[in-house]
Amino acid sequence: MSRPLVPRRDLLKGGGALVIGFSVAGTSFAQELSRSAGRALVAGPPDPRQIDTWIAVHADNTATMFIGFVELGQGTSALLQIAAEELDLDISQVSSVRLDTHVTPNQGATVASASIDRGGPQIRAAAAEARQALLTLAAKALNAPVEQLTVSKGVVSVIGSSTRSTKYGDLLGDRPFNIAFTGNAPQKPVGQYRVVGTNVPRRDLPDKVSGRYLYVQHVRLPNMLHGRIVRPRGQGAYADGAKVSSVDETSIQDIPGARVVRRHDFIGVVAPNEWDAVRAARQLKATWELPPSLPGDVGVYDQMRAARTIDTVIAERGDVAASLDRAAHVVGATYRAPYQAHAPFGPNCAVADAGSDPALVMCSTQSVYGTRDKVAVVLGLPANKVRVQYYEGAGTFGRSCFDDAAQAAAIMSQAVGRPVRVQFMRWDEHGWDNYGPAHLADVRAGVDAAGKIVAYEYHGWQHVWSTIETSEQLALGTRAAESADGTSRNLNKVTLGGMYDIPNVRLVNHRVPGVNGYLKASNLRSPLDVSFAFASEQTIDDLARSAGIDAVEFRRRNISDPRWLGVLDAVAKAADWTPRVAGSTASRANIVTGRGVALGTHLVSYGAAIAQIRVDKATGLIVATHMYGALDAGLAVNPAFVENQISGQLIQAASRMLKEEVRFNKTNVTSLDWNTYPILRFGEHPNVTPIVVQRPDARSTGAGEEVIAAAAAAIANAFFDATGARLREFPMTPARVKAALTRSNDGQRGDR
């Protein structure tokens, strides 16, 4: 039986059947509800060809923007700066609303640092067209031609006649535009910008520091039960799912109100009290088949190399083999990069009411429309009978378990006929993530006597992304499946030497079938680029050293693109880089220091980084002491936000390079918490210097992922500079460091 969802405006009054059971903290949330009221009655996405889909102008002379990108800690309010700019409103006069499949347009998923890159032009064009329509109305009201009108903070006046004025709010106040979005309205020239390019502060901070901010983990519904999933601790091979052998429902009968929800191999527990749900999940006697079908974290690379792969030549020019034969120096090596976890600091959480009409799911997804489709599948409903609302959770950095949690909550809510809140436990999130996939690379490159790179060959092995969430796999028996090939899943021809002028290049992508014998995988911040840069930029450094040239100077000699040179020079200057050949000052001391440089990106934008590290040879411990990152993301709409993103990437790069690795044996993942999957700690963090290379005349592009690869590889290069030894597998743990130093010493003895 279904019951209607109360129109959102009624939520404000607190009446009706569905009261969002949290205190409506502050006024911003209440305002937000009223400003999207009336839009929430029809399943979306709303028609993107209508201006009313994107913007509403209110009687109080403010505007609401309907934006399809979620806030992930990156500062999506930069999009409001773009809107305010085109509308000639003050930044305080524009706001946005919660993402909701019944309210906000479908701008695609918030991935690939696309909020500004892809979303910015749409928001800019819509705002410009709205302004044009408002000026047409104003011209009529003021009896003056549009060309004689000027706008400031939404007040339209006739040039030279300041008494003749009106306001956006008076012209349209809360009425629809009823015009098509053609995208043809003239836009403001960059030279006239006064909001874009400035450091408007984040809006969410006062609520976030005081405990007023509503994370998804705080959402409660009346009559709601608390749910927990019950699975083996740590996933096995993707294809295997988790086949239940036995469940003893009586094992939790002493816990008040607790009950088991089972749908095929999907097991969950619900209870009115949250701690009882936690206890029930822990106490339930359940056993699973745990087939030994994984290769283990050490064996995975050999398994990938031996796999029957689908091979694609991603880039090919010139004659690599012949030019390597003629090169003055040739370097080459094999590189290994582990599975790494998203591991959001707060595990995913979702609240579902499958019995309402439409079914309602509140979660921390990167794509409300994508999640809607996945929830519809497990509920057996058409997509337009499901409504998904975004509530921010902890930073996710790609497809963590948010869809899995959303499906789990929906499945349990449907089974028990009440709203259910599912909070993944730490071991659920760590153990059942869609990890960034492992990567294996063989690289060879050559340089001529003049220090010019003449050839570059890269073979890379990895699998693509899992598409079926575990809840669906277990509940419906859906077979494990993978995404198609594509950007972010194949070799990246920019990060892989694309910044250098190399005449002979060959990049071969070896796609490993990842369903049988591998872990689930998906996009982890700057997908695969950390692994690519780790291999590629160490190769470039090896070339520089073999040619006897400083690493920065060597890169300069091989780059002609001014934007790559721009970030390289900016970071070298910030770090006060003095030229010398890498490793030339490596000493026999126990504690040594080194510095390294590297370049990289994700899709567009230009990233360069320098790392300074300290190595204790006795313990094998590497400490990153200072990281510098320069990013050219075109016109930075809010340079302070970009700086924060650079800083975060520098720290996360150190974490991923020095600490992070998903461990697994033949049957399952064993990295289940912060002890078994350590990340960089406060006491270990490097100082950071973020550098925004502002390019007012260049299109704004992504800033959330484009310097992490460079930063990671810079640490690897710094290790060689400090020790004279190469580490070609990460994370660069003490054990691996000591092994590399031993190999290096043995090698030097052998040379003599």
């Binding site: 949290f22 205190s23 903290a25 992930l72 800690g73 990156q74 502060p201 984040r202 969410d204 901070l205 006062p206 976030k208 520091v209 005081s210 405990g211 007023r212 901010y213 509503l214 994370y215 983990q217 705080h218 009290n273 949250e274 701690w275 936690v278 591991a343 959001p344 600091f345 707060g346 595990p347 921010e392 959770g393 902890a394 930073g395 950095f397 909070q423 436990m425 730490r426 302070a640 924060n644 800083s647 975060g648 990437q649 520098l650 720290i651 996360q652 974490s655 918490d673 912060w674 002890n675 990340i679 960089l680 700690r681 406060f682 006491g683 963090h685 100082n687 950071v688």
Partner: protein
């Protein structure tokens, strides 16, 4: 049904229905509907759920309700009053100086870990008003941040320290 327990949270005595073995975190979030302390790991590893118990930073996810009987619990929401009491101010400021400093530094990204960061930082500043960088690193080492905002938390603690010194002048 056992007699309801009472606990003292943010200077108020609250009667709660949870059993004595319930971790304090679930009482604070589900019964008292506080939004500062929040679930992060349930293992005492990350600091997401931190509160002050008699002024000492404590992981509420692994602290049973019975363990805080007769003690004073301060959550993120109660830090301005905690600070006012400590500094003998006539009334609490809107925000603890560290909360204010975090806004001024625009420190956070997703902000989920900031409950613990602020609670721990406030504890540090309460007994070490002018911490060195090494003291901050050491004190904060049990609090993880996935977004990588450690450098800005460092700056915010230093800024708050300076602001608190001004208050004393």
């Amino acid at each position: 049904m056992a007699t309801p327990l009472t606990i003292r949270v943010n200077e108020q005595t609250r009667s709660v229905a949870a059993t004595p073995d319930t971790p304090l975190l679930y009482v604070l979030t589900d019964e008292l509907r506080l939004q500062g302390p929040r679930f992060g790991c349930g293992l005492g590893q990350c600091g997401s759920c931190s509160v002050l118990v008699d002024g000492v930073e404590t992981r509420s996810c692994v602290t049973a309700l019975r363990a805080v009987q007769g003690k004073s619990v301060t959550t993120l929401e109660g830090l301005p009053a905690f600070y006012a009491k400590q500094k003998k101010l006539s009334q609490p400021p809107a925000l603890h100086p560290l909360q204010q400093a975090i806004i001024e530094e625009q420190a956070l990204q997703c902000g989920y870990c900031y409950n613990g960061m602020i609670v721990k930082g406030a504890e540090l500043l309460s007994h070490t008003p002018r911490p060195t960088e090494a003291q901050i690193r050491s004190a904060m080492d049990g609090h993880l941040c996935r977004c990588g905002t450690y450098p800005r938390i460092m700056k915010a603690i230093q800024r708050a320290s300076r602001a608190m010194a001004e208050v004393n002048k």
